[in-house]
């Protein structure tokens, strides 16, 4: 009875939010969850309940899986708004149930916050869980990577099939102890792979089995790559689904020998694609349907509005604070692009989730990559621009390349008057919105 009542309340609140033009992806679920924290246990789930989690790339991977399933004609719903915490998930699930608590679609697909897994699936377990990577990420909330691992695996009992990134030793650790089925995926050496002796930003440099230092034959980034333990048999084995011949320039790669199109030229995209491929084939989607979804009905690349300043293209790269790998991806992307560039960098707050402004992660980010002659100017914005400037000084970036902006109203005029070439922003969500607004005002007089 309570269940039917909660489902109705949830639907009613969602509708109310819609009528008043509010984002109703979290609020109804928050109310439902507060009334009864066990509501999600009382749902009759479909045959496939698929979760996607990890420190980064989970949103993109979820979108790719959704695209393939939808293209193959599967009846699937997912949290498209990216509300991946317990409130958003509760809203989505209850809204897609009959009042008798039966989930109305064939597949439930969820991007999941690592720390909320046990709240959503404490008792009922997912059938499949895709794991992207575990890295340093929002430490004020998550603690260290081994705590993120524990949070995920404490919510699992072996009944869930894992689809995991074998290039990440922190995830591959699960192959030592997880009692359930594991499918692996990964990417072989690419032309951007590297090897360096002293790698500071590694989260899992040591064998989880015998604590000897892992030996890497190459890194893709951070601690992701191909490794083995010199002492025991822990290593990256050839993944079940392996991407080879990754060519970011042409946006192609092979997965188990089939040519696959990449919808963007990021290595992250290659990971999301091979992860989605592995999951879909594991749940029985035919290879030809997956290839059709990836190569014919290609995944639309979410470019959104194209911005320009004085007809100079602006590329906005979302960079997550406190996540060095997210910044690394942006830096690598900018450096690899052709032409002269100006980079805009900075933030007003480290996080949206908490008020702490710990800046130590700035020293984990490879800002040394900005020492590239194609980058002519770097513009620093936001409240912590001086801390970023110190970091850039230590990266030995020439001071005459750097411009500090005190007043955001001066940003666009400065870009126009003092810089040339294409414009790249490397900031987090909040700053992206502010910059978009400034461009609109400057270019279209849209106040």
């Amino acid at each position: 009875m309570l269940r039917a009542f909660q489902i109705l309340i949830n639907k009613f609140l969602t509708l109310t939010c819609k009528i008043f033009g509010r984002n109703g992806s979290q609020f109804p679920g928050a109310i439902s969850y507060n009334i009864n924290q066990h509501i999600l246990e009382k749902i009759k789930y479909p045959k496939y309940v698929i979760g996607v989690t990890g420190s980064s790339g989970k949103g993109t991977t979820t979108n790719f899986i959704y695209h393939i399933l939808k293209d193959a004609g599967v009846d699937v719903v997912y949290n498209s708004s990216g509300s991946n915490g317990i409130r958003g998930i509760t809203t989505l699930i209850l809204n897609n149930c009959s009042i008798f608590g039966k989930f109305k679609h064939d597949v439930l697909l969820l991007e999941l916050d690592e720390k909320h897994l046990h709240l959503a699936f404490g008792k009922n377990k997912m059938t499949h869980l895709v794991l992207t990577n575990i890295t340093r990420d929002q430490p004020a909330r998550n603690g260290s990577p081994d705590l993120i691992y524990d949070a995920i695996f404490n919510a699992l009992d072996g009944t869930t099939t894992l689809i995991l990134n074998a290039d990440d030793p922190c995830l591959n650790k699960a192959t030592l102890s997880y009692p359930g089925k594991i499918v692996t995926y990964g990417i072989n050496k690419t032309k951007d792979s590297y090897n360096k002796k002293e790698n500071f930003s590694v989260d899992n440099a040591y064998c989880p089995n015998c604590h000897k230092k892992l030996i890497y034959s190459y890194y893709h980034y951070g601690h992701i790559g191909s490794y083995y333990c010199p002492n025991c048999d822990f290593k990256r084995k050839t993944p079940d689904y392996v991407a080879t011949k990754v060519n970011l320039e042409n946006q192609t790669m092979l997965i188990n020998k089939n040519e696959v199109h990449l919808n963007k030229n990021f290595l992250f995209t290659a990971y999301a694609t091979v992860a989605a491929y592995a999951l879909c084939q594991t749940i029985g989607i035919k290879e030809k349907d997956i290839l059709h979804a990836l190569n014919e009905d290609v995944i639309p690349s979410k470019r959104g509005h194209e911005y320009t300043i004085d007809n100079r293209k602006v590329t906005m790269l979302e960079s997550k604070n406190e996540n060095a790998l997210s910044y690394y991806q942006s830096l690598k992307y900018i450096v690899n692009e052709k032409g002269k560039k100006v980079v805009i960098l900075g933030f007003d707050n480290v996080s949206r989730r908490y008020k702490y402004n710990d800046l130590s992660w700035l020293w984990d980010v490879d800002f040394e990559l900005l020492n590239d002659e194609s980058i002519e100017k770097i513009i620093l914005i936001g409240r912590f621009k001086w801390d970023v400037l110190v970091r850039l000084k230590y990266a030995k970036i020439k001071q005459n390349k750097i411009i500090l902006i005190d007043d955001m109203n001066n940003l666009i005029p400065t870009v126009k008057e003092k810089t040339k070439g294409e414009i790249y922003t490397m900031v987090c969500f909040d700053m992206t919105e502010i910059i978009q607004k400034k461009i609109m005002e400057a270019e279209h007089g849209n106040n």
């Binding site: 081994d146 500071f200 230092k213 710990d358 800046l359 984990d364 001086w386 400037l389």
Partner: protein
Amino acid sequence: METIKIAHLYYDLMNLYGEHGNVRALTHHLEEHKIRVIVHNLSIEDKINFDDYDLFYIGSGSKESFLIVLEDIIKRKNEIKKAFDEGKFFFITGNALDLFGKSYTTNEDMTFDTLNLLSYEAIETNFRIVGEQVYTYPKLKEEIIGFTNRDSLLKNVQEKPLFQVKEGTGYAPNEQTEGVYKKNFYGTYLLGPIFIRNPYFTEKIMEKILKSKNISYTPFEDETEIKAFEEYRKNMLNEKNGN
């Protein structure tokens, strides 16, 4: 030209919060004082001759890394004790501090022997201590800023504290002091590159290092670091006052 040799110990395991920034800051400041700096990044199983170095640094790590390091460092106990007694410099930040007391006790009630260089016991907590910190350091008018994010505390500390707590948490909840100071051992739970963020404090440290080498000290001010320090403090105060 005088040379200082720095050993960055467990640089790969105890570097959870960009702590190699501390070694870079020490190097930068020492070089500004016309000292040649040699840094060796060392880790478990490496052969380390403690006599070769003037200064040792260790930063923070995850619990897993911490336990791997403990297993290794305990084998070097006598050499570390000798280096400490000889007055070599130890800069120990974050949970590396837990390595230097008598023992470390986990939540599962397992107790490990630690280096026994200092008097305290380290206890793992079942809660995390997280937040921005403002401390004071004797004879320094500027404050110390930093961050803590940990799940351990100290008990029965006999040594002198390094800092007085102005805002935040001491070496244990409700304690008004933080860090440990003895001979040339400087330990604090503050994480990340504290020597970058606290240029005034770093210069106080420079004074001591130079004195130990019988070199006269002339102040050096890194303007960018000082500006970043001042701006950060201003931001914090603005937030506190609700602006």
